[in-house]
């Protein structure tokens, strides 16, 4: 696969949130505004890319029997880096979502890309795979955040767009579930309508 295809696969074909339904916790948790979703997406993008590159570089040295714990430690290291950088330079956002930044370490998507892709491929393709998956994640979070902030607060990135608050429920905990559910159903519907696919949902799993 060419690098462009790898990128596209992460963004559309195997979008982590809407298609693979992996790592759903942050998709609901931090998307009550576009800004939070964007920063979370950037954090995941960075961790995913770096974890993929590191795993790929070390793939010949990691014994297959201890590969999962090794990947976990690689990921945990990069999450710690992200966590400390964010704590230093994005204080106001970090106060709201510090716990979720730390929990990037438990995201199924990062571990599964290390295991399925980076452990079998060279560094450059792994880099692009990480970049594609991370970008797919980022776009998904921004999409959800866009609808939730616009409907819940009437603003985007903290800038007021509509004078009222059309649907306050969207920024409440429950609204996050509604937003993700409806968007997911909408993408399935598009898929069935225009591409004749039977939809990617149904699975979920870990």
């Amino acid at each position: 696969m060419s690098y462009w295809q790898l990128l596209k696969n992460g963004i559309f074909g195997e979008n982590p949130v809407f298609r693979l339904a992996l790592s759903l916790c942050p998709a609901v948790a931090v998307t009550n505004s576009v800004k939070n979703g964007f920063l979370m997406g950037i954090a995941v993008l960075f961790v995913q890319t770096m974890a993929n590159v590191t795993t790929s570089l070390l793939r010949k040295f990691i014994h297959p029997k201890v590969r999962i714990p090794s990947y976990m430690f690689i990921i945990a290291t990069w999450v710690t880096v992200t966590d400390l950088v964010m704590a230093a330079y994005a204080r106001d956002v970090y106060a709201q979502m510090g716990l979720y930044i730390k929990l990037i370490v438990a995201f199924a998507i990062i571990l599964s890309r290390s295991e399925l892709f980076a452990s079998k491929n060279k560094v450059v393709p792994s880099f692009f795979d990480g970049l594609g998956m991370g970008t797919g994640f980022l776009l998904a979070l921004v999409t959800i955040g866009f609808f939730r902030e616009l409907l819940g607060r009437g603003s985007l990135w903290g800038i007021p767009i509509v004078p009222t608050k059309p649907l306050l429920i969207m920024i409440l905990p429950a609204g996050g579930f509604f937003a993700v559910g409806i968007l997911m159903g909408f993408f399935n519907w598009i898929d069935m309508k225009f591409f004749g696919d039977k939809g990617a949902s149904g699975g979920g799993g870990h």
């Binding site: 992996l22 999450v79 510090g98 716990l99 559910g181 399935n188 069935m192 870990h206």
Partner: protein, 195 residues
């Protein structure tokens, strides 16, 4: 330590700040295993016990090893190592001591090593600087809260099998909307006690 304070902490952890409905953690497992009541119950038992034990274990390690050595910044790496090691040990011991229980709960045990909800408990304990008893109560409360959430969801999803859902909403999307409705109901607990 007063009992009433601990009780408040327990209620807060299990109902008001329910992990699934207000903190949105553990969703992968939550949607993955709640298709059948039986698996949901097995998962609840395993999760609650692992959460309590890992809360206690990580508290001891944080207090007596990491703090004196100034390793607080390594909390993520160390906690995940501790949880993974402990789960692996439990897995091995259970296989030897009670094979019957192992075949019932073993598969769940393998799944929870890298679960965000298990890791969240020690991280919150550290962030809120709870003492030993409080950490355990928080772990227990969160575990019970997660179990309640899974059991409610499983009982609804068993009924959902019979419902006529539009095709694009089948599976996960409808489950998300259902969870949103339950979360709305759980919002009612928020006035239960003052924090």
């Amino acid at each position: 330590m007063e009992f009433s304070k601990l009780f408040e902490l327990f209620i807060a952890a299990s109902l008001i700040n329910n992990f699934v409905f207000t903190r949105y953690l553990g969703l992968c497992i939550f949607f993955g295993v709640t298709r059948k009541m039986e698996t949901a119950i097995g998962m609840s038992v395993t999760f609650t016990s692992v959460m309590v034990i890992s809360a206690a274990l990580n508290w001891v390690i944080y207090k007596f090893i990491m703090t004196p050595l100034g390793l607080g910044f390594l909390e993520i790496v160390i906690f995940i190592g501790v949880v993974a090691g402990f789960v692996q040990a439990a897995d091995t011991i259970m296989k030897k001591v009670s094979p019957g229980l192992y075949y019932k709960l073993g598969i769940y045990l393998a799944l929870i090593t890298t679960n965000c909800i298990i890791l969240a408990v020690p991280l919150v304990n550290v962030a809120e600087s709870y003492n030993f008893i409080q950490s355990i109560v928080f772990g227990l409360g969160s575990g019970i809260g997660f179990s309640i959430a899974m059991i409610i969801m499983a009982s609804i999803r068993e009924k959902l099998e019979l419902a006529n859902v539009p095709r694009s909403f089948q599976g996960l999307p409808i489950s998300f909307i259902l969870t949103g409705l339950i979360a709305l109901a759980f919002l009612g607990f928020s006035g239960l006690i003052k924090l």
